[in-house]
Structure formats: C-alpha cells, structure tokens
Symmetry: D2
Subunit: 327 residues, 4 copies
C-alpha cells in the first residue's frame, strides 16, 4: 500500500471525534453501569436520555444514552473547526451525492448529518454547550477515571473503500493490518485527525456496525482497578477482553460490554502522530503481536458482535480475512 499523501487541504476541517449516541433499553440500568462502574460524569439526565462526559472534557457530553426499544447506535459525532466548515461539508456531501441534512440537537449548535458511502451515519457540528472542566475536582474521580472519548472503531464491509473516503476528507493513516503478498488486501486501518493514533478505525466485517467506542484513561492501574470493581459488583460477565497490550497503537486496553451490549474500550498508552511526514506502521495479518503483544487470544464475541446503526442496512464484508482484526 502506497503511503497516502498527507499534505493537502481537506474539503472541510474535522478537529476530532467527539461524541456518540447509543440507544439503550433501561436508563437506570445504564446509569448504574456508565456512571457507577466506569465512572463517567452524568452532566444531565432528562426523561429519555442521559448525557455523560469524561473528567477533562469541557463540552456538555461525549456520550448520550437514549431510551430506545432496542440496543442500537446512532450518529458518530465529530467536531469541525468552524461554522464555515459545516457549509463546506454540506457542499461536499451534495457533490458526492451523499444523503445529508442539517438537524437540531440539544446542547449543540448547527449540526450536519450525513451517511458515508458505506452506510456509516456521521454528525458534524462546531459548537456545543460548555461545562467546567472536572480534571482537578479529584473528589469526583471514580471507576476507571475516564478522561476523554478517544476514538470509534467500525466494522466495515469494504475497509479499503472506507480508508480512501476518509483520507479524502483529511484523515491520516497511522497503522494498518494487511494480508501478505503482492495482492495483499487491507483488513483494518487506524486514522486520526487530532494527533494521536486514531479518531476512527475500520475493521473488516459485516457492516457498518459500531465495534466500539473508546475512552482514554491515564494509566494501566486505573484499568486494573476497573477490572476489580466490575468483577466484584456484578459486572463480571460484562468484561469481554483484556486487560492486555495491543501491538497496534501500543494501547493498554480493556473491552467491556454495557448492559445493552455496546462495547466500550478503556484505552491508555498510545503515542503522538501529528507530524505531516509521520509514516503509517504496517502489520502483517500473520503477526499475532498485532492484536495482543502478550499473546492472549480474544474471545469469539469480540470478532463477531457489534452495535447496529439505527435504520442502516448492513452488507457482508467484501472478503473473508484469515483473521478478523480490530482494536
């Protein structure tokens, strides 16, 4: 795979991934998990939704839990650099014939939604209501002490296509997993806007489906404590994988499932990537250290299960990778 050209003016300026809305079936049960176990801060509770954020996040929320008849994911939210970028994005969508619309969102300014060419629902905005940073309100720290939303990972039926589309709007590749040989196909890719390993990653599989949403925690010790807390407060079955070290991104990770099955990664220890001449790291699909440096296998559920996006049709993956990958 040729290294993508990094230096160009994207059609509009995405700053970073910023929030997601997840449909859940029982708000009280979800609050117990996301606030009580994970330690996210409940910024606001309405009759049909919970708004939560991490300790350093100054915007109103990074995750919205919305009362739903079934478990499902909604639009993935990205912050753009200005109001003007929203108009540029709308023009881009029109030119590309992507379904798009300006919509109303509580606590948020002007918001553009669109469906990417592979079915992923995206939401762009520039302003969200602000709240006081909690980073130095240490008395509020609990659970895994989640600091901020870090990235989304998507099951994608056409990983190469998705990578190409997002490279076209300014995302830059940092790591990828590829079949060996002259015709090796890419089975997974990690892309960023904000200067660390990723804002958005794609994994070969039936989709689009949301594989996971990741929160960044400061140290592996916080993640070990979360394991201990979950294992002894009734959430043992919700620990799906880890803790461990990914070869990819060097992340110290833990994957947990919320009561509705949405997968949350707790993520630590990656690195900076803002140099324009930063070169992506290639991993062979055959290299087992890619997924777990220490060699522990992931459970089947982790390779197969993900959250459906509300109202979005899914397609099978273009090819069957020998090993399905994600992190």
């Amino acid at each position: 795979m040729p290294a993508p050209k990094h230096i160009f003016d994207p059609p509009f300026n995405i700053i970073r991934c910023s929030h997601v809305t997840l449909g859940v079936t029982d708000l009280a049960r979800s609050r117990a998990f996301y606030e009580g176990a994970l330690g996210l801060h409940v910024e606001e509770e309405t009759q049909d939704a919970l708004y939560l954020r991490g300790l350093e996040e100054r915007q109103h929320h990074s995750i919205v839990l919305k009362k739903s008849a079934m478990s499902e994911a909604h639009h993935l939210g990205f912050k753009v650099g200005s109001e003007e970028d929203l108009d540029k994005a709308a023009a881009f969508c029109k030119a590309k014939r992507l379904v798009h619309a300006f919509v109303e969102r509580p606590f948020q300014g002007r918001t553009l939604t669109f469906i990417d060419p592979y079915g992923t629902p995206i939401e762009l905005y520039f302003t969200m209501e602000k709240r006081e940073i909690l980073l130095q309100q240490y008395g509020l720290y609990k659970g895994v002490q989640p600091q901020r939303l870090d990235h989304f990972n998507i099951f994608a039926p056409d990983v190469q296509g998705s990578l190409d589309f997002y490279a076209g709007v300014g995302f830059r590749l940092t790591e990828y997993a590829e079949e060996d040989g002259p015709k090796g196909r890419i089975a997974a890719g990690w892309m960023h806007r904000k200067g660390n390993v990723h804002d958005l990653a794609f994994t070969n599989g039936r989709g689009p489906r949301l594989h996971h949403t990741a929160y960044w925690a400061p140290t592996p010790m916080n993640i070990i404590h979360l394991c201990d807390v979950m294992a002894t407060t009734g959430y043992l079955p919700n620990i799906e994988r880890g803790p461990g070290r990914h070869g990819i991104s060097n992340a110290f990770f833990l994957y947990v499932r919320c009561p509705d099955g949405h997968r949350i990664e707790i993520y630590s220890s990656d690195y900076q990537t803002m140099d324009p001449d930063h070169e992506p790291i290639r991993w062979s699909l055959r290299d087992p250290r890619r997924q777990t440096l220490w060699g522990q296998p992931a459970p089947k559920s982790w390779f197969e299960e993900g959250s459906s996006f509300a109202g979005i049709e899914q397609r099978d993956a273009l090819f069957k990778a020998n090993v399905i990958v994600a992190n």
Copy 2:
C-alpha cells in the same frame, strides 16, 4: 550500640499493633476526613464514637474516634497471642510495678491496660469482634484505599530507655538513628513484632506524645491520588509533609493532619524482617537520606507537634539531638 539479643522467650506474646483511640471534638467533621478523604471504612457509629477499619482488617476496628472536649490520644492497642498472655502480662506489670488494670472495652474481649515506664498508655487484648474482610469488595474502595493499620510512632523523652523496655517484652529493633562518635546516643528507633519494619517507633522529644499513627496503602499511586483529593476538597492545609521516600524503612510516605491535629501517616513499600538473625540498620544522624531519600526538608510542625495522651504528664527529652528524627 550492641545488637540486641533476638532469640529469647518474651514474658508475654504481642502479635502486632492493632488499634488506637483518638479524642476528637466534632465527630461529623472527623468522619468527613477519615472516611471521606482517607477512605477508611466506618464499621459503626455510636452517639459518642466512630469505629473505622481498613480494607483487609477483619477485626471490628483499628481506629476509634471518640467525642472529647479536646484533641488527645488514648491507649495504643496491641493484640496478644492468647488469653493466657494477658495474665502473663498482668503478672509482668505487677513485678515491674507498672500501673495496670483489666478494663471493659466495647467490641473487645478481656483487656489489660498499663502505663509503660515512660508514661505511654498501652492496651492489650486477645479477641475483638470480627467482621467480613472488604479486600475484594472493590466497589467500596475510595480515598487512599487504606488496607491496615501499620504502626505507631511516639515522641519519647528517653529513647534508649523505651527501646530497652520494649526489647524486654519481645520487640525487635530494625533500624535506628544515632549520633556519631564513641558516645553516640540513639535519637530514634524502629521496633517490630509482626515481621515488617515496625509496630512501634520512638523519636527523641518531649513526651510521651503520639507522633503519628500509620496506615499501609498498596502503592505510591494511591498516595498521590490522596494528595490530589485532599488538595481539591478543602484539605490542602491538612497535608503536612510529603509525598516522599524515607531512607529509613524505604517507605513511600505522606503525613496528613486530621481536623483535630492528629497526625496520620500513609505508608507503603517497606520490607520483611521476621528472620531471627535480621540485623538492624544504623543511620548516622548526619545522613540526610535517613529522613528523605530525595532531600526535601520536613516542616517544623512535623518535628515539634504531637498528640498528648489523655491524663499523662510529659517530660522533656533527656538530650537535645542535633536533628530530631521520626518517620
């Protein structure tokens, strides 16, 4: 100083230090500090007392906060090996003409109190009511996650005398600080029964006064978190010294003062000492690493202030050490 003889049958068998009673002037204010900031578990609250314990402690309490007109310390509690040891201890006190008495204590079996030759009030018992261990109830962890009471440190007017007395009842010296030269006097000593650096230490100074009570925490990270919590929840003035590393005992330490001024050490990282031929470590009073391996000076208050024992007269130290020591 000649190495003390280690191997002999003491007149009665003390297992370990186990609890202390501190007089406090406002129970609600004390509860906010000991439970809310430090993270001790409140086992019981009565009209005039709070009983707290650490996460691995199975006995009813390791600290009792008792409503008092003034801030003061009461008897230092030690667990003995059997009921018979209490009778042996009473006989020992009688032979030595020490003030002693069997007394009633809530939650505790037969209890013998005595005043040591230098005025320190001691309390011995064999049984205390038991409670379930909380070590694997990780959902209850908070503050510095204190696991157990570790030791007491006493301002002693005659350190050599105190060391000799406690060596006579089976305590073994692990470290000591001494003036240089052929007539060098001992300015501080650390003694144990339970197999780590200390259960009881003596520091040259007007006394007897309780310099501090120490709780053991699992890692330095817990102590750093406590600093952050205290600094941002109104307890900044209660941080007295640290965090830092003692040369003596290798402890990673923090000293805090409760709202009534009692000093609590949070203590981590010491070592085992149960070998009968374990030799004590000598520190020169001139070696600055003794107190703080990293070189930060302790504040004046730490050298001068301590809790008076209720009803006990104090004497000035026999000599003025160039540098007063404790840890």
Copy 3:
C-alpha cells in the same frame, strides 16, 4: 473441614520459606532469563551454578540454578528459628521415621534435609551467608523488580494428608478450595508461617511435583512491564498465564516459564495473616472467582505441568477434582 487449632507449640520453629534449587540445562540461557528478563540479582556464579536473590533479600540467595542433565527441582528450603530447631527437627523426623540427613550446602550453615510423608524433599537451616540489602540501590532495579521469594506451590497426590502433616509442624491454613456437600474433599490449601497468605500451598494432582515458585513484586505496574519486556525480547512463549487477579489470596499474578520449563509466579497484593485467631477462607470448587476474579481461563499446561523433584517417585492424585486448582 474443621478449623485447625492454631495455638500450640510446634515441634520445631520454621520461620519462612527461603530458597529453592532448580536444575537447568544451560546456565547462560537461564541467566539471560532470570537476571535479564525477571531482574533477579546474580549474587554469585560458579562453574556449575548461579545464585540469585531479590532486592530486599539479605541472605546469599533465594534461588539456585544448578547445571543438570535435565530440568528438575531439588529440595525446597525453609529457614528455622535457631540451630536448636534443627536438632528438634531431626528428632521429629526420626520419631516419624522420615528419611533425613544433615548435609553440606555452600554458603549455608548446618542443613537438615528430609522427605515428607508424600515425597516432597525439604531442606532446613538456620544461617546463610549475608549480603548487603539492595532495596535502596535503585540503580540496580530491572525487570519486574522482584523483592523476595514468597512461596512454593506443590502438586500433591493427597492434599488433605499434606495439609495435616504441615499443620502438625506449625503451618497455618489461610485459604482452601473444597468440593461442596457433606463429604466434600479439599482440593487445594494455602498455608503460612511468616504472616502472609502462604509459604507453602498444595494442589490436587499427580505428585509431588513443584507447581511454581513465587517472587513478590511491589505493584501490578511492575508485572505489566514484565509482560511488555518478555513479549518483545523473545520470551513471548514463556508467558503462560496472566496478568490477572486471583480470588484466592487477592494476588495480582503472572505465571511465566523459564527456558527449562520451571514455572515462576510473580505475585503482588496479598494480605496479613499473623493473628492467631485468623480464620481460613473457604472457596467452593464451583466458584470461578477463586482462580481468576476477572474470569479469564487458565491454559491447560498450567493445570497439568510441573517440575519433577530429582529422584522422587510420583503418585497419582487420590481423587479427580472436578476442577484442578492452584495459584
């Protein structure tokens, strides 16, 4: 199982487990592992043996790697309280008709070896040459920063018999795993002399074989770092199990295999047990949290493989436990 009587005078006084000799086939390869990866301090290398110790250990060695034709374990070493205890132990062995002999060991004083009733070779001594403590020579810290040998774990064909024998010489039970029901048999037990969870544990299985030797490390962070080091310096296949949290003992653990297959546990986070009325914790064999609080299964090798003791015949276990246990 009735709680064992704790308070009695044992026939001789064992202080703690202290060292082991392991036969290895290639000293240079073993040194690379034990010193280079684990971080043990090489105290001495002779033509046919390596002597290593942990950072706080003042005795000459806690592990001896001895050049052998094959991988095998030798006597398990325990320190006793005095020279007199060796004579008492010899008398005990004679009375019990156990094979025993006084032998010469380099760096060690008078040494008594014996074979316990189930075939385990034990070695008792009072004095070993001393070396300077390395705990504050932080420039020497490496690998997992092992501080001290903590315990041995044995595959035992008759766990109840082994527990009874060692209770008879003063070991005290802290935790055990048992079949449910009125005739439930004990499948594993943990016993101590030094005041933490164990010096010696027995696990149902063909034996006697050495399941593992454990070193204590100060924090889970050190263990995570060891995983990272091993995974990236050619020792990935030597990581067998973990990191994880045992329900039993609350240990944060990692099991690794040396180049000759001997299993080493790195162990952290247990608790104190010196109270004479400390009651053992019972675990049902059906409780999965016993082995791993977080729910990760152990590999088959961990249940089946162990080091043979040189020259000792093995027997099958008396019964087949539903789940074989150890930690």
Copy 4:
C-alpha cells in the same frame, strides 16, 4: 485579558516543538546523566556531540548535547508543516525585520534560524532523518522512560509581548497567570501548537533564558522511580523540585538539573487542547494552587536560575511580579 482569536491562518505552519541543543562541558558526564539516569536513548555520538531521543520519537534526536566551553543553550527547534512553510517563515522574518538565516544542521533538512523580537533563538525545519520507533522495544526502557520532548519554558522580560508575537504565528494560549485588578499584568503564559497544554511557555523574568526543557513520561510511577534512582546513584543534588502536581496544566512534575545546570522537567498528566474554541484558563497570581496543587514551595533556584542562550543579550523583566511563576 481578552481571549485571543483562535481561528485564523498563521503566516506559516508550526507543527510542534521538536528539539533543543544544549552546550555542555563534559560529554561523558552528560551522557551518564541523560542516558544513565534519565533513560534517554543515545542515537548517535560524535566527537563533539551526543544526539538523544525519547522512546516514541521517530526523528533522529530531540536533544543535542554539544561540547562547549561553558554551559549555554542554543536554538529552540520547531518542526513546520512543509518545505514551503520555511520560505513563508523567511518572508515573515524579512517583513518583521527579524535576524534570520538558512543554516546547515546535521541530520536535518533545510533549516531556518531566526531571533524573535525578545531575543529568543528559534530554528525551523521540515525534515529530519528518521529512526525506528522504540516504543515496543521494552527491553530498552530505563530511567524515567521518557517518551517524547513536550515543551520549552522561557524566562521572558516581556511576557505579554512574547505571547502576542507567538499568537501572531499561530500559537494558542491555554493557561495564564495574571495579577488581580483591572490593570493586572500577565506574569506567565502557556501556548501550544500540537494540541496539548504547551509547546512553549513564558515566565516573567530577566531573559531571554531557557527555564527548562520538558520530556513527557507516561505515569507518576516513572517519575517516583527516577527520584529513587537519582537519590541513590549520586544525583541527589540534581533533584531541584518535586515531585508534585502543578495546578497549571495539571502536570505531575519533577525538575532536575543536569551536571551543567540545564533544567529538565519530567512531565505527565496534562490534557488535550485542540478545539478551536478551547478557552484559556486564568490563574490569579495569588492562588497558590497554580504552582503546586499540594502546597509545597519551590526552591529559590527554581525562580532565579536558567540557561543563557549563546550570544544573546539579556534584559531585565519589565515589571517585578509579586510571585515569579513558571511550570
């Protein structure tokens, strides 16, 4: 102080701070400190210079130690977004009548140096030779495990002037310390390009002088280990301040001095700042938590001493702040 306008096209695109050259008088002595104690990786040693980098840095070096007759600092290096940016920067310097020149630097592509309006020597470049990332070569980890250069801090005689100049080339303010009252002057400011708290900070004082160069370390535990290592390997006098927590930036910090007196900060725990509407945090000069959340005073040397820039004249500060500030 009015919030600066964030969204504008700077005259040229600086990506991040990237390297510094420090004049040292004894290369071997410096290598022992920077490699042996701090744990930086020596990428290359020539007859008169040492080139070092952190564990995640892929460029040839982030610090150059150059044999000099005296201790002094040289140009502060920043990476720009493209070769074209260098030409834009040269045009900018010409328009602003700043002393500037294209120069040759080993291992580096085209390099533009200039002197800012207050005397600070700056160096811009786009390409540097690359080396393999060491982040997953865990066997090489040592010292404080420094991952990357994070920022520079400058004693500035006119802080407001410096902030204005760097705001004009695209730096964005994240935190600042100000006198109270309607005419309150700014005594310190922190500015970034790369998306965390700072690349470059200015502190009121005689200058320009380099107050410190900071490396980022992953956790406070690494910093505590460095204290222990330095205190016991002859570098105790080189520990100047900390460890502690800054209110500003939330950094867990340690300040050390190299054998030539250059100040290095080890820095951890800050937060992300890439949002265009990210608002700077104001600290009153009277708020003691600004400097140290936990209340420990900094030594006098820390307020007064800094590295002179080779060949640059210094000026006194425009005003005397009540409390000099930096971090």
